[in-house]
Symmetry: C2
Subunit: 460 residues, 2 copies
């Protein structure tokens, strides 16, 4: 069950190549091999297609049903799609383009040169072309940029039976059959009916009486994250997107939302690691881009960390009086940074999934203070033990322990406070990366350490 095994795959590739290059033409040995290709999932066929030579791809695609080939093409990158489409005969190419989902077509047209896009657009019937043109106007990362126009729409005055017949008629093109969107005469979205409700309703009932009028929709210029949130909150399979006048622009399907959720998580993880998120996959990102995405934050952190030098220089006499104090500098600032990083990661995620908001600031600070005190006591004990093992004596041990306690509490509070405040100010809290919080508590940690040392050891 499931998937194409590597060995099957090689054998199938050989079979395809053999038939495509057969002396009597691809159909000479019968079409059983084509049936076998068609029984693959479109995704798996797309993977196979990538391993064929371009001339083999161009020979194979016209032999397959258009809807099947179009479904597979949707899994290729826009540039690969264009390479294939523009080399196929215009009638095959245009049929495939028509069968492809409109959101995929929009991504394709936005990715290629305007002249190339114009050529492909010329293949489409004028009404569809206008719809696509409109979808192309929505900025990236908006709900509108994910929308597809291949939805099932019906009029308020239709009967249930009439609607069901319409669904069957447009089943082939539609992205989802799960919902019928009810429009008034001016194209405004006034209701939604699920296919389930249509099946259960009286065939002679009017759609207006069956439809749910509490429509949940995203506005075209809403952030795509907002659309993803609505769709997953209500467990929908598709979400309608409307313009300012409530006219239906398109629908976003759940597979797009899965991609959005995944991409947002990737962005947060990379930001929390202290890097600007990559816009392409890892291996598609050139080394100079990896460099650019990282060097900015590294330099910012370097400049921020540079004040540790100032703090240490300030305590130069203390340090000269007891060089052993320097031994514990990385250990103490490291522990502070680790504590801050833990707190930040927990809270950035809790903010992202809406478990915590700015209104909870006081509760969060209380919880993190309590946690920080417990952690500080544990780390203080560990610090004391370590100082004894290093052999610097119990006096310095008490200094290290006391400093660890205060540094851990301080790091917990800063790590709790910053993400909530930034979120409140409309800044993505994920910019408070682990490295940033570590940097922020390093200098203050050193200040705590040397102040404690001066007071307890009577140094200057």
């Amino acid at each position: 069950m499931a998937c194409v095994e590597a060995t099957d795959r090689e054998e199938l590739l050989e079979t395809i190549r053999g038939h495509l290059n057969a002396p009597g033409g691809p159909a000479a040995g019968g079409t059983a091999w084509l049936e076998r290709v068609r029984s693959l999932q479109p995704y798996d066929f797309a993977e196979l297609l990538r391993e064929l030579h371009p001339y083999e791809q161009l020979a194979l695609i016209p032999l397959l049903p258009r809807d099947y080939a179009a479904a597979a093409l949707e899994y290729l990158e826009p540039v690969e799609q264009y390479q294939l489409l523009h080399q196929l005969s215009p009638d095959v190419g245009s049929e495939l383009l028509l069968e492809m989902s409109s959101d995929v077509v929009v991504d394709l047209l936005l990715a290629v040169h305007p002249n190339q896009a114009a050529k492909l657009l010329g293949w489409l019937p004028s009404e569809y072309r206008e719809q696509i043109d409109r979808l192309m106007t929505f900025p990236p990362n908006t709900a509108g940029s994910l929308a597809a126009v291949d939805y099932v729409a019906a009029r308020e005055n239709w009967t249930v039976d009439q609607t069901l017949r319409h669904i069957r008629k447009v089943a082939r093109e539609a992205e989802t059959l799960s919902y019928v969107y009810v429009l008034d005469a001016r194209g405004r979205l006034t209701g939604v009916v699920s296919l389930r409700e249509i099946f259960l309703a009286d065939p002679n009932a009017r759609l207006a009486d069956v439809a749910n009028r509490d429509v949940i929709a995203a506005y075209a210029l809403d952030d795509q994250e907002e659309a993803a949130r609505l769709l997953s909150k209500y467990d929908f399979v598709a979400l309608p997107v409307v313009d300012d006048e409530d006219r239906l622009v398109g629908i976003i399907t759940v597979d797009d939302v899965v991609d959005v959720i995944r991409d947002e998580a990737s962005e947060d993880i990379q930001k929390l690691g202290g890097s600007q998120p990559l816009t392409e996959s890892y291996f598609r990102t050139p080394v100079q881009d990896l460099f650019r995405k990282r060097v900015g934050w590294l330099l910012v952190l370097f400049v921020a960390e540079a004040y540790t030098t100032t703090v240490l220089k300030h305590f130069e006499t203390t340090l000269s009086a007891d060089v052993a104090l320097a031994f514990f500098v990385p250990l103490l600032v490291g522990t502070g940074g680790n504590t801050g990083s833990q707190t930040v990661a927990t809270l950035v995620r809790a903010l992202a999934v809406h478990e915590v908001t700015f209104r909870d600031l006081f509760r969060v600070i209380l919880r993190e203070a309590a946690t920080g005190i417990l952690l500080g006591l544990a780390m203080g004990a560990a610090g004391f033990v370590r100082a004894l093992i290093v052999g610097v004596g119990p006096h310095l041990g008490v200094v290290v322990a006391t400093s660890a306690l205060f540094i851990v509490i301080w790091a917990s509070l800063v790590g709790a406070f910053l993400p909530l405040v930034l979120h409140r100010l409309g800044v993505d809290p994920a910019v408070v990366s682990g490295p940033l919080i570590a940097t922020l508590v390093d200098g203050t940690g050193l200040f705590i350490y040397f102040t404690v040392a001066r007071m307890m050891l009577g140094l200057h």
Copy 2:
């Protein structure tokens, strides 16, 4: 459009309370208010329900259609579900339980005391009870643990028309109508037909001839992440789950997968922050659990970081010869940690979304080495400038610059190597948190720094 505004919500709550407590009973003032309640999305109604008193909840629920009330109940926590169900009259309670999705019922039964679960199970017809019993046997985080038995199944020898009539009959109970699962006489899954294909097929065709036999399915004991991966790879709305003998156990729907993807991202983010992931939401996690989830890693990191003390003690004479060397310790180890954290975050995410595998180790190391050299040059220059500003002279400036170069390259390589090797060993690479990589490169960074200093400054 969309959602219930805060003001509407208060007003609606008042209306509901007024009618529930009306002298002549809830229906005294007509049922228009109930229609208004029913027009809410089940999710929004569940939110509203939470704000009513228990006695109000118990009075309201029986007044609503069972399927609507059950859909709303599904959004409550298992404990809240149980509180309501067991206090309602057994006939209302059992009807609601029957209408609820089987995967939600399983979660409910697993969350309550066995005696309570037995009571609820007793309300179910015996055949359904057996199915639920079986679903309850799958361990947490397996594909089987997410499965629901409310699917549409058909026999191979049915006609398309017969199948369509069957779909309409079971529409009310089914989790999704998008797919019909084709079973043989022994309950084995032999094919899948989409509703779209059924609409487009000849009504007299046999299901066996229309069904797709290249079935993509998860095994019940597969990790839930594997199921999520399959479902999102193929852009399905639901994925069948089978046992070892290919018998259909249930289906996983895309809304479950959205939750899995979100939870896995949360886990990775918390691990990368250096904490054990929380199993509950932030505010449901008691402070002692926040402490426990963090203290383990903090102590491990402390012990690992403790060797920085040893390194510094080893270089005590060098340090005493020029105390100014200590000024740059936090800056250099911090920069190393930041670089490592950036690389780790990028690669852990690339591994999680399958952009990178262990086979790419060599390519990854090459790319990260190149990036590391560029970053090292930038940070070396910054280090030199900083040393001049602090006023420690150009000699120490060159030492700081050279050390920064090597430390950054070293951190890039370790940050690239570790996640891939751990992934290969079957360990979740997200355990290589930012704090862990920072800790690992801190001691080696100090060693690099003091070795460079000794050589360049002629110290001992």
